[in-house]
Amino acid sequence: MTAYLGKAVSRVDGPLKVTGKALYAGEFGTADLCTGYVVNSSIAKGRILSIDTQAALSVPGVLDVITHENRPEIASYNENYTDMDAADGKHFRPLYNDRILFNMQPVALVVAESFEVARYAASLIRVDYEAEPHQADLYAQRSNAHKAPTPMPPDRGDADSAWANAPVKIEAEYHSPAEFHNPMEMHASTVIYSTDGKLTVHDKTQGVQNSAQFISNIFGLPDGDVRVVTPFVGGAFGSGLRPQYQLVLATMAALKLKRSVRLVLSREQMFSFGHRPETIQHFRLACDREGRLVSTIHEVIGETSSFEDFTEMVVVWSASLYQCPNLRLDYKLAPLDLYTPLDMRAPGAVLGMYALESAMDELAYAANIDPLEFRIRNFTDIDPASNKPYSSKELLECYRQGAERFGWSKRSQEPRSMRDGKQLVGWGMATGVWEAMQNPASAKAVINIDGSLVVSSATADIGTGTYTVMTQIAAEVFGLPLEQVTFKLGDSILPKAPLEGGSFTVSSVGSAVKQACETLQQQLLDQAKEEDQSPFSNLELDGVVFEDGEIYIKAAPSERVKIADLLKKGGTPSMEASATASPKKERDDYTTATHSAVFVEVKVDEDFGTIQVSRMVSAIAAGRVLSLKPGRNQILGGMVWGIGMAMQEEGMLDKDLARWMNHNIAEYHFPVNADVHDLDVIFVEEHDEVVNPLGAKGIGEIGIVGVAAAIANAVYHATGKRVRDLPITLDKVFE
């Protein structure tokens, strides 16, 4: 029996969010709060010759202008700037010296009594540079690319000969531009300075402990002097996985001025740090006449910066998803004078799977096989990259249920063969895949004499529903009403949690919450056993039931004890237990992954070339979905992101300036309400006892993976035009 898990529970933090009471990083304050505003460089490479701050400093209300010349001491060693999601290389050190490494690099921070004054004074600062030639063209740097420093699955067979000799084959190159996370809340840090020099920091982050450790290391602050508290995060999608420069600058100002400082980046400045890397993917794919893959050659060139090597899991999926005897993978990085790319929703997978699933569609057409049937013929339940079985892989069921809901059987294979008046109709599909990971995580559970249960862990809720699902897990284990359970997160002093990302929060922190609650239950049962002639004396946890603040014997429900009475007799107002959940060894014998099948209908106007995604069905196999409302919402959000990736999103770079030109959300397009139509989510039943004790694989990323390819394939089916350059805009369809 389950009271809450798998049910549609409304978000426990919903009322705070709809009333404006949820406080985000840039919304905390104190009486002595002052405000910062960042000045960014206007060149991409070179050095600062001088910074004229006189005019800014003379504005009434300006407290200071901090530059590399007058900043407080900060660490110089690279290792001090390493964070939990750092890329390999020499990490960026804000305001460290006169070197300029990328356009819009922060070069000064104005601190003033008010936001308006700080912003105005920032406009008065003049910086003289000595510019050096820069490189911002990925195609021009293609020949300078180096091997990506990341483990790769081994090659198999002889992919080149197999491709050369195959009866059916395709060769294609796919390009995807830089994309920006653009969470609605801009990156912000509020540093509350206490008179004893200790800092309470509200930072927009996906890991409060990551931010706390980062600034402790940079400013040489003793453990315990920095506490990061971030109860709400206004979206992040990966942008909060690494501490961003506003955290360093706000802390620097607070320490220098011995005052509390708030620093919020502008939307323009949200384009001054990490982004999904521009990527070129070359594919050679071949099959026999029955449509069985015989060769896969996937070669990728990704963008990185001049100072770090950003790698992501972009080619690995081509080794694992389908059965194929001959395989060759290549992944290179080309350094550009831009900021280092950054993990962005389903990093790597959305790119690699865009290319793989586009190539699969092209090959299905070359073999004259229905694209869905083609994928089914190449299905494998053994991971060919590791020769391990998947712990579960209900992908065939995703194909079946998704196709049925979509009506795929009514599709005609020929491009331009379906229409609705003046609209060319296209139906396309793709497979999606993402890893089902688990990382060590800790949690604490406290039961109080008033019957309330408080569970905590230093994880985050970036809109993913962490508050809600953890509350559901704890309430379920303890048999308590949801209202009696509180889950605390977003505070660096709470039990250790991994970064909130990678779809592993439910798997990692959820397992810790369950384990902490069960440990606490064991303690309560042990206490009950200590009573004289206790009816519980010979029982273990599986012989008793926790319900509504009582423990009773499963086989004799009239034998029961109130938890409050146990605490009273023990003379304590509460009892607590902590636990650390780690991935079990058994996982090593399996590949663990989530899968999806995405079906898309597009309508392309024959005269105007406008493209609309009129319908999409996504069938998801992600193990057990514990919290249905936020869970479904995550998949819907991923589908919307897929629409953006396929049709709208593109960081437009002026290569002569190495500067993003559309650095605002009027010109960097992502979907609005009118772009989104009929979206349908199916959660396919999937049982998995390997991934973790909850059987939940995580669902933050899987919703977006495959969507761009499914849309591109649908556009081909509608128009006969294969666009291999994202985003698919009307000019490319009809050029």
């Binding site: 409304s10 978000r11 933090d13 919903g14 009322p15 705070l16 969010k17 709809v18 009333t19 404006g20 009471k21 949820a22 406080l23 985000y24 919304e27 304050g29 405000t35 504005v59 009434p60 209300g61 009594e113 008010s114 936001f115 308006e116 004054v117 105005y120 653009n182 969470p183 609605m184 809340e185 801009m186 709400f232 206004g234 979206g235 919020v264 502008s266 939307r267 970036i462 809109g463 529903g465 936020p630 919402n633 995550q634 819907l636 959000g637 991923g638 589908m639 919307v640 992101w641 605002n664 959300i665 009027a666 992502f670 979907p671 609005v672 309400n673 009118a674 772009d675 989104v676 979206l679």
Partner: protein, 175 residues
Amino acid sequence: MNATPARQLRPDAGADTHTISLNINGKQHELAVEPWTTLLDLLREHLDMTGTKKGCDHGQCGACTVLVNGTRINSCLSLAVMQDGAEVTTIEGLANGDDLHPMQAAFVEQDAFQCGYCTPGQICSAIGMIAEGKAQTRDEIREQMSGNLCRCGAYNNILAAIEQAIPACKGGLRE
């Protein structure tokens, strides 16, 4: 009405201040504001009413939507001094204690948000849109709500929430 004396806000840059009168969520305020302060920054930076969100400061995202005399506007595109004498309703002024406005309740029930940052703007915009009488079909709602971006992509649930709340909101703002 609870009138409060004209309040000098945060220390300024020596700019002249203008005294304006604003009714915010039923409470009368006399405020000395600088001419360069937007209605959004007045709320967030000076009055600590952070329920109204800043997502771009350029009128591109709708997160700062409030109701001024019942009409939805982007508060980042209006200087506070332009609103002298106006009645402003923000997200903080919609519920009656713990009793949520029907639009707020519908947003919770339909899970019409994830991170919650665009949500106050979505809710104020939806109430304003219904008062405009333009939301007759689902496609019209989608079009009329397209000035309110949601990066989490909760648009289908936002649409469902608005559809649910329309009957209860028809008379404009609930008393």
